[in-house]
Symmetry: C2
Subunit: 340 residues, 2 copies
Amino acid sequence: MRGAVLHAPGDVRVENRDDPRIEQPTDAIIRLSATCVCGSDLWPYRGIQKLAGPTAMGHEYVGVVEEVGSEVTGVRPGQFVVGSFWASDNTCELCRAGYQSACVHRVPMGDLGSQAEYLRVPLADGTLVATPEVPSADLIPSYLAASDVLGTGWFAAVAAEAGPGRTVAVVGDGAVGLLAVLAARQLGAERIIAMSRHESRQKLAREFGATDIVTERGEEGVARIKDLTNGLGAHSVVEAVGTQESMMQAVHSTRAGGHVGFVGVTHDVSLPGMEMFFSLVHLHGGPAPVRRFLPHLMELIGDRTIDPGKVFDLELPLEQAAEGYRAMDERRAVKTLLRP
Amino acid sequence: MRGAVLHAPGDVRVENRDDPRIEQPTDAIIRLSATCVCGSDLWPYRGIQKLAGPTAMGHEYVGVVEEVGSEVTGVRPGQFVVGSFWASDNTCELCRAGYQSACVHRVPMGDLGSQAEYLRVPLADGTLVATPEVPSADLIPSYLAASDVLGTGWFAAVAAEAGPGRTVAVVGDGAVGLLAVLAARQLGAERIIAMSRHESRQKLAREFGATDIVTERGEEGVARIKDLTNGLGAHSVVEAVGTQESMMQAVHSTRAGGHVGFVGVTHDVSLPGMEMFFSLVHLHGGPAPVRRFLPHLMELIGDRTIDPGKVFDLELPLEQAAEGYRAMDERRAVKTLLRP
């Protein structure tokens, strides 16, 4: 089959890879309907995260089940399925508590490379959620968003306790930040402040439910949030970038007793103890347990309550994956969908 | 009046200070029934926190109201009252949300020096809680504990979401850690693991409700907690020390999705972003909003459900405050009560 492989920073090639096959009786093989490039794929693409060698890329996926292992009973060939970037058994104590991204048997899907024609999905019964029927083509991007960026933005909004009567601020206007705006809206937040200086992203944030836009960054951005919240800060702040500046912007934008939900991968971030202490904020985040939210999110997509697929502003054939990476790296695209 | 003043590291003197007087119409003056030395008083005593000059010490207090300002309606002369180490109006938006330690009008009681015969309490209506009648003498230590260490330990246990079905681990066997054990028990925790290597403190932890004792520290302590929790870590972990080692011990002892409540003042602590991210823990803490819990805690003390006063293992006349500090500094005493 064809699949995207990163050979060195900036060097993505679509080439022949071995067809995946059932290795464990709990595996499924799916034929991908669509896949995409993640903001986190840009870390190795930019050379910030080191490569051990040529690496099959991608961890987001939707597709049709081709084949299942002998122990798989939850999904069957022909079904359209969505899974998250962690394969999880969905039965261990941590899964049952809603932390499937910490499942004791978890497998990182990034090791398997979903930017390809076919994908092996371990722990298929726990990992995959099927739609009632194969969805119409226009819904595919939204289901694909559920695989990671929607689920991650949703987790961030839940971690930040977005909800009725709360003012939510979102730091980061990438796909995850924008979908955290959508999530906050669905969760009933009263006021949603998107922090963005890009006009097209501001527009999408408003479509997703943002009531206010703040263009300032860092401590100036914090001051604007304070202005909008009686000097107290927001109740709920989503951090969806992962830099020192954005984390501190999020913490400082939150009122005492408020909640920070952080999902930006915190490379080189260090949180000063005394500031965290005196901030009196709640902090929660990490690799999103997308699986917890998938059934609900897939329902909202299926009945067209939400349209998270709008974050894909570039669609390319898988063969042009390299251009998909470039466009995101240069911030010409929010998120690239690839069609195998 | 007589009061304790820190002149330099290690140099506490009880000397004549000006009698406090009503300065604002919202003030009250109380005659102290008892006061005490806090673990946090040891920071300047040890020279870790710098002094600007001779400093009146103390922020924990119980006493009888002597006089109130013209706008005070909630307490009256003759009443026995307890307050927290932050004076707070108890009416602002943050107070109403339960974060009186971040009250927009808050005043640090440490600036007023409660290790003395009399104390001015700002925002008396918001700050002070009166008992139905003047309590019997044997209850005074427990009410005094409510002023800080009990309220702080309780907040830590609440922040860590101690409750039914949860395993709670407590890092730190000072007064706050020991009272976090008591709080976890009252909150219905199933299993309470106290981390302590001091026999007398272990004994008190057991009296307060600890079901297990772990004597190992650092990563060995973490390994023991994992052993006791199916390899997953505790649901709830209280951090009541405030060092880098104790914070990381707390984070690493917590399962994914679990809660760390931290109340040790985090001098020189820095939380590594990637570890916080992949830990998937909830983190909440800071200066405890003791006022939130005071009415409930005072009820539990009044009806003798709890006996937090047991943490005072040294009682001295105020005039011997210097020995009270020394005993705590040398860890000969858990906590010193001073009688003016």
